[in-house]
Symmetry: C2
Subunit: 245 residues, 2 copies
Amino acid sequence: MEPSKSPANPLQRTLRRLGGGSPDELAIRQAAWVARCVGRGEAAPFSAADLSALAAELRTVTVERGAVVFRGGSAPSGVWIVQRGRIELSVGSGRRRAVVHVIGPGDVDGDIQHLLEMPLPYTGHALDESTVLFLDGESFERLLASRHAIARRWLSSVAMRLAASQDRIIGILGRTLTQQVARLLAEEAVAGAVPLPQRTLAAMLGVQRPSLNKILKDFERKGLIAVRYGAIELLDIERLASLAE
Amino acid sequence: MEPSKSPANPLQRTLRRLGGGSPDELAIRQAAWVARCVGRGEAAPFSAADLSALAAELRTVTVERGAVVFRGGSAPSGVWIVQRGRIELSVGSGRRRAVVHVIGPGDVDGDIQHLLEMPLPYTGHALDESTVLFLDGESFERLLASRHAIARRWLSSVAMRLAASQDRIIGILGRTLTQQVARLLAEEAVAGAVPLPQRTLAAMLGVQRPSLNKILKDFERKGLIAVRYGAIELLDIERLASLAE
DNA sequence: AGATAACTGTCAGCGCGCTTACATAGCAGC
DNA sequence: GCTGCTATGTAAGCGCGCTGACAGTTATCT
């Protein structure tokens, strides 16, 4: 009996462009925000010209909660940068569904697939109503070719993601589930809490929900966390982190 | 760690002995070899000037079998490109040791850590007597800043590694050990064989050797592989790949 | 307010992979 | 040859996490 796979009420996907204020000024502010998020600034600061070149290409898109932002298997149309809300990246469906990652404000996606001309390996669902900045493929390529600082910053951005991905592999291999759970909670914490249901957390670790629940209740008995509805509250982050070793 | 998928090209692997000629010519040939290995050529072909700039900075280093190429925890002194032999990247020690990856000819390492100014997360041991091309950190940075094509190619190289790393995570989550073993064998195959002892393969999956051995003998009984001393011979790659699903 | 969907809590049975241990086989050195 | 090291083969016991199921709780919708 299918419990509740939520394959999204797709195509409910309403993309609408944001207006408001002076369009140019808004665009520059968004570009500046992207500049802060992509890669490390020290290596290659953005000039005003870099910023306006970037601003000229960014489009703002609003996605409703539950909507599919992009679908696995299709060629990426460009680069997404999450500005507000969370996007869940998942593979497979039903019982075999695994959540690869949940991205939030400042995170970038689609660039890798564009650079390598490969299809998207995962599907992105909006967990909240979200705002996403979009850069189409050709514009992205043009910016990389003409703006040195942008190319350099993008390199460090991708490098950061690679380091995080490798870290995650190291964190999986040879760890007990308890260690992995402690690590996941510490990593996904936002303002002292992890705003994700146990079902999603379990999928991120590739385990079943009852297995996760058992460990969470154990942590709760020890006073490390408080289990809420659709969220975990972290009470003792230090002890939690020490369990991740 | 560069995914050693495409570099399985025998042509690339036989190019290791770049003998003869003047030192300059040798350097240029090495640089051209690096150019073929790093990233995707279509996006940004190297000019002759790019090649000679790269050639001027490369140093050739020979490491003995079993030697430590670099040690985890230390800041990286630059970028390594494996030309001949295999380097095992591992974390931890003793029972908790896990092999993150084994890199071979054409693979690149150290650049990520340099770009992010972070310590190396793993230690590199030479599994064979190996030749490594070395690019020190300052030279690397200089090349990125002055050579557009090199920066662009490096971006796609890092992107390829990130895609491979994410693939690996997807391949781990929710898979049975049997599926993971089939996948690992298919991925690490070099000329129809996997030249690694079971101990190393087990560490790459984060499992114990007896668990791996049981599955390997099972595969052998089914005629998929032949277990040799320090190596696995692949007999039926297609059926093996189908088991990885 | 009531209906519905989504989330949490829990249990019993079972199988995979871990642990420990030991025996055998291949390989390199003198 | 013999020695020592490393790799492979295998078995018994055990515990973790999976499976499937169901009850209770909280949020969302109309």
